[in-house]
Point group: C5
Chain length 303, copies 5
């Protein structure tokens, strides 16, 4: 995620960091070359039937705007739901460790073990979503359990099973009542729900056919633009074409980025920072003396 | 569901797999032929009153874009809700088998029986939604129960009744407390809710009248387009008409596909893959040694 | 609700069943006559100042499209929420009868009595929403209770009170624990919520003023259309005017229908079919030998 | 709330009741006078540079339509959420009195006392939201409690505290188990949530700046309209300007009304009717012989 | 938050308080100067190829309107969610103190301690969200606990841990049953959720890239406007350009403000007033004789 203070206008207009410009530059270049060719050809052979009328452009531009607007809205909703799920995970992890501390105040080792599994779940979920084989979770799990966990296909879910298992053993041992177990079990069930929701966002992008239809329509639109402009705009055609292409391709490309909220692109969600927030919350609840610092953006990017 | 890596621009512009092009090809051809006829007729008899003014096209194109945008949004919401319901089913099945393992750790046969019913529910729900007589569920149910289940009209619900019945018997037998039963019963109630929500999506498409109004308006629009273009576009009329028809008919046809998220079309949801995910989750929770592999797309299509 | 297979293009273009055409025909005729008059008057007295400029039409058409789009979206949401509420009722009735069967397996008469009240609630709610004095509920209630129930002002709520009362009596008698009562009480509370939500949809349409503003703007727009078209479209004016009026009046009329999801119009929800689904679900859970068949559409309409 | 049967077209076009026309009449008159002045001035001094081009109007009209559409959608959502909250209150009051009757069937005086507090809460919430010092609640509260309640700043919340207090006393006295108390407490917690949500709707309108920006843009737009029309529309300018101003100002004014769902305007919610519905529901559950009639609209307006 | 009665039209048109005008004034000035330059240059050198055609403006204006509309909608949703979270906090604090009073009626000191922590949580959350080191919370916490709380990194969460801890100690001491603890624990869990949701709104603005793309497109649009107007509007160009720039820049700037609902800008949420509402609610529930007055707007601004 890109983190910037509200920049002054000059910075806003000149910064490249966070701009979609670099990403769509090849497309803009292609459109520019095409528009230049059309302009020169028109200057050389100004046939009276060359220009297209404005009507098809208005109609196609209108439809394209509405559909791009819809796709962007859908992609933003995905991105924001990813954020909401991780926000919920932060809340659930705090609530769970808080209740553990309140209900089982006498057993610090138990609290540390449970807290460690909560943090490990966050690490494992991030690695799972990003398809990485991170090792950050290992520090939070007792050595004896590490190998078992590493051998599971669905590691975050396995961590939750261990969490439930240990709490249920307390119930069987009479150290925790059914009702209090239920309070904790609800938190863990919510974590399972969060995991499944995140997997859903990662595994199911908006229908490919939709993106395809939009990409193609955007290309067709930008390719035909110079033909519509050249008669009235003359030599300004390439510049104006590129400006319009920037708006449409830019929005299209931004949709592509927001579509994958758990990727590693500049606009993806800073899962590392969220995991750190969870670490801090659990450690502070456990009464740790030293808390790790929150993650800070590097060169305006928080990962 | 079509699964593709983010393709380069060339692939995006040329791929047919996942394109809506084949589906709307007949309509595009019809519009092309019509536009060609109009163009030739106009070339032969260039009556001064032939062309229509641009105003009606702008007005109709505007209205059509907004209404198509709305319908697409509604259809996408249906598709995405279908996905959310199956994501919730994945979460509920994991949470249920996790709690069974935690609360009833001593009885492996019971856990296998309950786990089998969870998986069978997913199989049966998929078959129910797709109107298929699949047999994948049978491997997960004890032979004695198979015939009974096969004879039920609403098989997935019957599977849940058995699940509840066996758990309630544990309560009656004093092996499970009321409160712990409740934790499990909530998961099963959620599954009932998921089933009813999926049935709703399958049985109640957006109002037929709405689709009808849109189809007709789209047809009227595309049929009149060449009359509006021919005066200014001349011989380019058929091509430009087809491009616009591609955008409008394409979006309309895509809405048709997304409208039925549980069908077997290319853009429908990969229920088989979801069922497999549930199988893996249950089997891993049961401690199975061999897990079946996740389903992979075949020729870029996941079913 | 109109039920049709995905029709071929020809059927789509010619069917009247489900079309909004008949409903808006009088308005289209009025607009046609007006446009014809304008066209003839213009042919007779082609005053140079006759035509209106295109700007007001573009502006009004734009605003009208956006507002109609909004209203349609709001009406569709109402319709879909009605469907969701009934889908939830199907789920709640299945969950309730499933839990009754699981928790009170020994008392078949009790299960039948409770199941009968669940079905009766669905019947009574439908009658309540449609303002009908249906008698379908009577078969599901013991004769002794029928008169009492018939004398209540809010019959569905009274049926739920009896349901709660009988279950609470089991608690008082020690046959059902508090906790298990709670599981059942949650289902009944959900049914109360569903009833209130359905009453809300029936009793509170979108603000009348909003519909009024839209109707009037649509009328003004269609009345002025021929004045804007006649100069450029000539004799085609009446036809083109009617096409545009069809799109705008059609969407307006469709909004009127979706606004009342529990009415008896073609596009309203098939409450009878939903009630039958609930009957089947309860009867199968009670182990009935003969299940009534699902309701089928008659002449493509499901009620 | 205005209650009308689906009126025929003539009524729709002529009714003033429920129309926004009276409210925006002064603005329409101002615009009309301005447009008349512009028209006459142009007739007297038809300077060639007088008219504005259409481009700025199209651009501003487009932006204004989209922004008005958004604001209207936001205001409608507020209005509808207000309705949903009161619908939920109706459900909660029925569920609470139903459970009271089921769980505490032997103590009619208690049920009447609790039921009275439920109804009083509805009265007090309505008065609180409308800023009125109504006395309707007094009949539902025992005299001894009236003074205390009247002295509270937040009366509805105080009524709920008494409700909770009496139920908790039953728990302390061993007449109600913890679990059954919880069932009732959930209903009361929901009522607290409903109150806070209604207060939110009343106290926090959409940002004033937003309304301001829209009002000003709408005024600027309507003031400039005649300059854009006069060259092509001639003497029709004032009429056409007023029609457009009617659509834009009308929508703006309607948004103003929907913004405050608990006010006493024609389009506000009929809180009195909702309170009566709650009264009827509670009284019928208490077995009252005479039920008050539902409130009916007076001159098509339900308050 | 700006609080104004519904102002008359004159006030609406002239007020600066709450207007976005001051904020966008520099940008409007820049655009005005540019437009003036273009106008003068065109008057001096009226080259026939100077003006741009209208098509690019229509296309870009259309796209910009739709995208600005979307961004505004997203920002408004953030603002409104912030309000909803604080409304929920008001509800939760009232429900929690109500249940404490009902379930633990005998121990006034305990109720005061718990109530104090609830209010302190609201203070600490506000300070946390605004990044301020407020001291308002200290009055609500016993001196012995103040230092500990001041030393926590996440103070609001620490306050909740103390709340849970004290309640759990009552359970351990047998003064509160498990089930009644659960009722209170649900309220506290909701508060944890509210905190995480507010942190999410504060820490994660809409993607920077999105704002950047919009800002740049808006600038490009406004810079090119005079070139499109000058040929037809002549000397009116600067004025008309500024009007359009006001609408677009104004909406853009308003989005910037709504994006940060917890900031201290004029349109941000009045967190101080919400905290006071919570104070009043808790104090009245505790039976305090003197209640502090609700916060009132100062110069029409409520903070």
């Amino acid at each position: 995620m890109i983190v910037r203070d509200r920049a002054d206008t000059l910075t806003l207009l000149t910064t490249l960091r966070g701009s979609i410009l670099l990403r769509v530059a090849p497309r803009l270049l292609a459109v520019f070359v095409l528009a230049l060719g059309v302009t020169l050809a028109h200057a050389a052979y100004p046939l009276p039937r060359w220009p297209l009328a404005t009507l098809p452009f208005t109609l196609l531009g209108l439809a394209l705007s509405i559909f791009l607007g819809f796709r962007n809205s859908a992609c933003y909703d995905r991105w924001w739901e990813g954020r909401r799920q991780w926000g919920a995970l932060i809340a659930e992890s705090r609530a769970l460790i808080r209740e553990v501390g309140a209900l089982l105040p006498e057993d610090a080792a138990l609290a540390h073990r449970l807290g460690g599994r909560i943090v490990a779940f966050a690490h494992l979920l991030r690695d799972h979503l990003r398809g990485e084989a991170g090792a950050g979770w290992e520090d939070w799990i007792a050595p004896a359990e590490r190998d078992w966990l590493a051998g599971r296909q669905n590691r975050p879910d396995a961590a939750l099973r261990r969490l439930s298992g240990e709490l249920a053993a307390l119930v069987a041992a009479g150290r925790l009542s059914d009702m209090l177990y239920r309070i904790l079990a609800e938190r863990i069930a919510a974590m399972t729900g969060i995991q499944a929701a995140c997997e859903r966002l990662r595994a199911t992008p908006p229908p490919f056919t939709y993106s395809l239809l939009l990409h193609r329509t955007a290309w067709l639109f930008c390719i035909f633009l110079p033909f519509g402009f050249v008669q009235t705009l003359g030599l300004a055609t390439p510049v104006v074409t590129v400006i319009l292409a920037y708006a449409f391709f830019g929005l299209d490309a931004l949709g592509d980025e927001l579509e994958e909220p758990f990727a590693l692109s500049q606009n993806a969600l800073p899962l590392n920072a969220f995991v750190r927030t969870i670490e801090i919350g659990v450690l502070e609840a456990l009464g740790a003396a030293d808390l790790p610092p929150p993650l800070l953006p590097v060169d305006h990017v928080l990962t």
